[in-house]
């Protein structure tokens, strides 16, 4: 009885919501027939109640921060304060046309200006552009600036971007989009970048390196200064993937580590909602030498200290625009509200408690008999547990653990990332979870381990208590069914 049909299956021809269109619209006699649509699109025809009920019921099938502990590593699933949503949704913000006169936009511009300033302070960079619409677009902007920098110097032999083998997939993919080839740098047994390999890899072909620190392995790259020196000496620049900034907010500034450019995932560190897949926001910060290339628009001030947009006239060497307007403004507002509530002490405490939670959880899981991928290391805001022993004997995988956790009322940690750790769970509790939540998670892990030892089938069959049992990804990719069709047939 848990099924909710597709909205199209609720549809009945001729059902119309008169509350949304009481009167028939105007005619189209000035548009020739050949330009007119002949057959109506097959949107659902349902009542407003049908739609409300359907999407309310569907929503209940999601796990979310608001309903579950969600320790998804690398994603920083912390509490999204409701005030951020409420305040960013004030009519004065929502109703503003993007091409409004600057004079009529001083309210929003002031917020964006403040946010730029705060992000500069947090990252230790000299300028920030808010326009990238997610982390990956921030990466694009960053690497494109690196390229613009080398190009501006006529240094066009630099064709390669270095990326650690543990890096997030967006890093190599971004390098490619910027026309670079990618060289992977191995990780050593301690989880640090293999400096010997790095030294061997750098050269006049090196455009730069993309790093995140703490790395995707959940540990702090201790030799960051050395790495910076090696890369800089080879003439390359350093890109900082800010997805893990939550771990070091107010503790270390990427600018101080020697990075030339950085993006920040506001939808992680600054707790804007992830919305089931976005919108995010990935502002970029730059050092002095990349400043001329920063993407537009930015918020500046004019002589009488009114805010205004900076564009190609102000920054003629800019890599250009990344969106039709100024990126995900509403998300920036949410981050701004969050930053205001935290303030300077609040930000430092994020790093403190995100780190405490991760180390505590790691300590407890270790005490409970689980294997850590990097047992010698401190956890940062996250850590990796490997189930490679369990995969051999009794024969349950990280995926089995993940699915069984769902039955216990926990969202699963990130599985199988980073790719270099076998059977891994990347666990990021975040600072907004209480000790009790962490303790309950440990209990669940212990209980699942016990189940695994008793009968592997229990885990293999999981989940049991969700709207569906385990889903077949292979069939999804093999027998593509990407849309509903009235006759049930395949799309042509």
């Amino acid at each position: 009885m848990n099924n909710e049909p597709l909205i199209f299956e609720h549809s009945r021809p001729g059902r119309i919501n008169r509350a949304q269109s009481a009167h028939l619209g105007g005619d189209l006699d000035d548009i020739p027939d050949t330009l007119r649509r002949q057959r109506r699109p097959g949107l659902p025809e349902v009542s407003e109640l049908d739609a409300v009920r359907h999407y309310t019921r569907l929503s209940q099938k999601n796990f979310s921060i608001d309903t579950h502990f969600y320790p998804l590593g690398s994603c920083t699933m912390k509490y999204n304060p409701r005030a951020c949503n409420t305040l960013a949704s004030l009519p004065g913000f929502l109703g503003q046309h993007p091409l409004s006169a600057v004079r009529d936009s001083q309210g929003i511009l002031a917020c964006l200006w403040d946010l730029q300033e705060m992000l500069k302070a947090v990252t230790g960079m000299c300028a920030v552009s808010l326009t990238p619409m997610a982390g990956a677009q921030g990466e694009f902007a960053g690497v494109a600036m690196i390229r613009a920098y080398h190009d501006a110097r006529g240094d066009d032999a630099r064709t390669e971007i270095l990326v650690p083998d543990a890096a997030h997939g967006t890093n190599p993919a971004t390098a490619t989009m910027c026309g670079y080839s990618v060289r992977e740098i191995p990780t050593d047994a301690q989880g640090d970048v293999d400096v010997v390999a790095l030294k061997a890899a750098v050269g006049p072909h090196t455009a730069g390196i993309m790093l995140t620190n703490p790395s995707t392995l959940g540990v702090f790259e201790r030799r960051i200064h050395e790495i910076a020196r090696i890369v800089h000496q080879a003439g390359g620049l350093l890109y900082y993937d800010g997805a893990n900034l939550n771990a070091i907010l107010g503790k270390v500034k990427p600018g101080d580590m020697g990075f030339d450019v950085i993006h920040i995932n506001l939808h992680k560190t600054f707790s804007t909602p992830h919305g089931g897949g976005g919108p995010g926001s990935g502002p970029v910060g730059v050092s002095e030498r990349l400043h001329p290339f920063i993407p537009i628009p930015l918020v500046g001030r004019d002589d009488n200290s009114a805010f205004r947009w900076l564009d190609e006239h102000d920054l003629p060497q800019s890599i250009g625009r990344l969106s039709a307007h100024m990126g995900n403004t509403g998300i920036l507002l949410r981050a701004y509200v969050y930053a205001l509530m935290l303030g300077r002490e609040g930000m430092v405490r994020i790093a403190d408690y995100a780190t405490l939670n991760a180390n505590y959880l790691m300590a407890r899981l270790r005490a409970a008999g689980f294997d850590m991928a990097l047992p010698e290391r401190r956890a940062t805001h996250e850590f990796i547990l490997t189930l490679k022993h369990q995969a051999k004997e009794p024969g349950v995988t990280a995926m089995d653990f993940a699915k069984r956790l769902l039955d216990y009322g926990f969202h699963a940690p990130t599985t199988y990332f980073p790719l270099i750790i076998p059977e891994c769970l990347l666990i990021e509790p975040t600072e907004t979870e209480s000790k009790e939540a962490l303790d309950a998670f440990v209990e669940a892990m212990v209980a699942i381990q016990a189940e695994a030892e008793k009968d592997v089938e229990t885990l293999k069959g999981a989940p049991y208590s969700l709207p569906v049992r385990r889903l077949d990804d292979v069939q999804a990719a093999r027998e593509l069914d990407l849309r509903w069709q009235a006759n049930g047939g395949m799309a042509s």
């Binding site: 028939l24 004065g92 004079r103 205001l340 401190r378 889903l471």
Partner: protein
């Protein structure tokens, strides 16, 4: 400590479990010389009350005149149900649906979204969103280069009737791929691409971009353009307004074979103007090139018991699997916006959306009629338009708009910078949210300003 639940006792107990004495100890792997001392430049924290008062004050500083601007962002009515449901925590605070079994709400909704977008455009398949209309066009260009295996030129015909900012963004994003963006000029009478002006022997063209309606609001002769492109081995990339799709021939039906890739800005589908974002880009394509599509794609499948369910699929295209060989670097997209758009489309239905389109069109026509009756004001193009049009004023638009602002009117978009050749050209638009009284108010004000 805002949003941190730890009591002092918790902290002490947890530190003990970690085997350290203080929070500081947990950071002992960070080289000491790197440690930041303070976050100067960040103000002290405020409570929600204080922040709320500040944000209310800031919101009040945003004046909101009567809006006659479009140019890619449209003030449409959004049924209240849309955001009352979209902002439910289960949608708002979930991550990308990696754990499918725990995300069937979002996944089923996105599958419905894909279906709706494909229906609107009459295309085979759609993805689950890109950042915005402009980046969607950039991705479409990159996709066309991958998909058109026969073409070696990497040459894209990019008409000037495409939104100028979209062209800027395409430029930024595809610059490093050896792609040549060839400008196509428009017909000065019609404000559209004149098919007869296209070369009969264009050489190797990878794709032709067709905006419908175009930036001027003019309707392109999409059928002829599509057939021309296909005849020369080029793919067709449609850039369309989703509201227009309710009444205008959709790209899936352009010419003999339909467009190959279609993209556009989703904002008109229930997304507030919000100073330009977050909006979302949508993208559709023919079935046979779906594996070249960027972005998340949701597919239906079955569970262990054969029950229907939904998952992220074709992940082998994506960065987290394919890494440097991925179709795009996009990861986080605009999920919550597509949630709103899906609910918007469900609440409106085909009839409702058609009605919106018709009402917009009628209002814009009525506005043009009123404004062009004013001395010195004239329409610039003679092609059929949808929903937006270019007017020529007797003096620089800039100054006129400023004076109109004094009357509480956002009078449209000045084209002087992007299309100086058009003279004092103003792009105007009146959606279904403009009443007769609003139109009158504009006419009265403009008459006064120009008098």
């Amino acid at each position: 400590m805002p949003f941190i639940p730890h009591t002092e006792g918790d902290t002490r107990a947890m530190l003990a479990t970690c085997g350290v004495d203080s929070l500081e100890d947990l950071f002992d792997e960070i080289p000491p010389e790197l440690r930041a001392n303070a976050l100067d430049g960040i103000p002290a924290g405020c409570d929600e009350l204080a922040v709320s008062q500040l944000l209310h004050a800031r919101a009040a500083q945003n004046a909101q005149p009567l809006c006659f601007s479009g140019a890619g962002a449209y003030e449409h009515h959004i049924p209240a149900a849309v955001w009352e449901i979209t902002s439910r925590g289960e949608y708002y605070s979930a991550y990308t649906p990696y754990q499918a079994e725990a995300s069937q709400g979002t996944l089923q909704l996105l599958y419905e979204f894909q279906t709706m977008v494909a229906e609107l455009t009459a295309m085979a398949v759609a993805n689950a969103s890109l950042y915005d209309g402009a980046t969607a066009l950039a991705e479409a260009v990159l996709m066309a280069v991958r998909a058109n295996r026969k073409s070696k030129s990497r040459r894209i015909l990019m008409p000037r009737t495409v939104h100028p900012r979209y062209r800027d963004v395409v430029e930024t994003i595809v610059r490093h791929q050896g792609i040549e963006l060839t400008r196509l000029d428009y017909d000065t009478a019609g404000g559209h691409i004149d098919p007869t002006s296209l070369p009969t022997e264009p050489g190797d063209v990878t794709a032709l971009v067709i905006p419908q309606p175009n930036f001027f609001g003019a309707l392109e002769d999409a059928d002829t353009l599509t057939d021309w492109a296909h005849a020369h081995g080029a793919l067709v990339i449609g850039v369309v307004n989703p509201t227009a799709m309710a009444v205008i021939n959709p790209p899936g039906e352009w010419g003999g074979a339909g467009a190959d890739i279609v993209c556009g800005e989703g904002q008109p589908l229930g997304i507030p103007l919000a100073s330009g974002g977050p909006y979302f880009g949508f993208m559709c394509c023919k079935q046979k090139i779906v594996r070249q599509m960027p972005g998340r794609i949701i597919g239906a499948t079955v569970d262990l018991e054969g029950k229907r369910g939904y998952v992220l699929t074709l992940q082998a295209r994506e960065q987290h699997i394919r890494r440097s060989k991925a179709t795009s670097n996009i990861c986080t997209n605009q999920g919550l916006m597509t949630t709103a758009a899906t609910i918007y489309m469900a609440v409106m239905g085909s009839a409702g959306l058609e009605n919106v389109a018709r009402q917009c069109h009628a209002n814009t026509r009525a506005l043009i009629k009123q404004l062009s009756a004013i001395d010195g004001v004239e329409t610039v193009f003679d092609r059929p338009t949808f929903h937006e049009t270019v007017l020529r004023l007797p003096r620089p638009v800039n100054g006129v708009l400023e004076e109109l602002a004094g009357h509480g009117i956002l009078g449209g978009v000045d084209l002087a910078r992007d299309y100086p050749e058009l003279g004092h050209a103003l792009l105007v638009c009146a959606t279904e949210t403009r009443s007769e009284a609003d139109l009158d108010a504009y006419a009265v004000a403009l008459r006064e300003v120009l008098a």
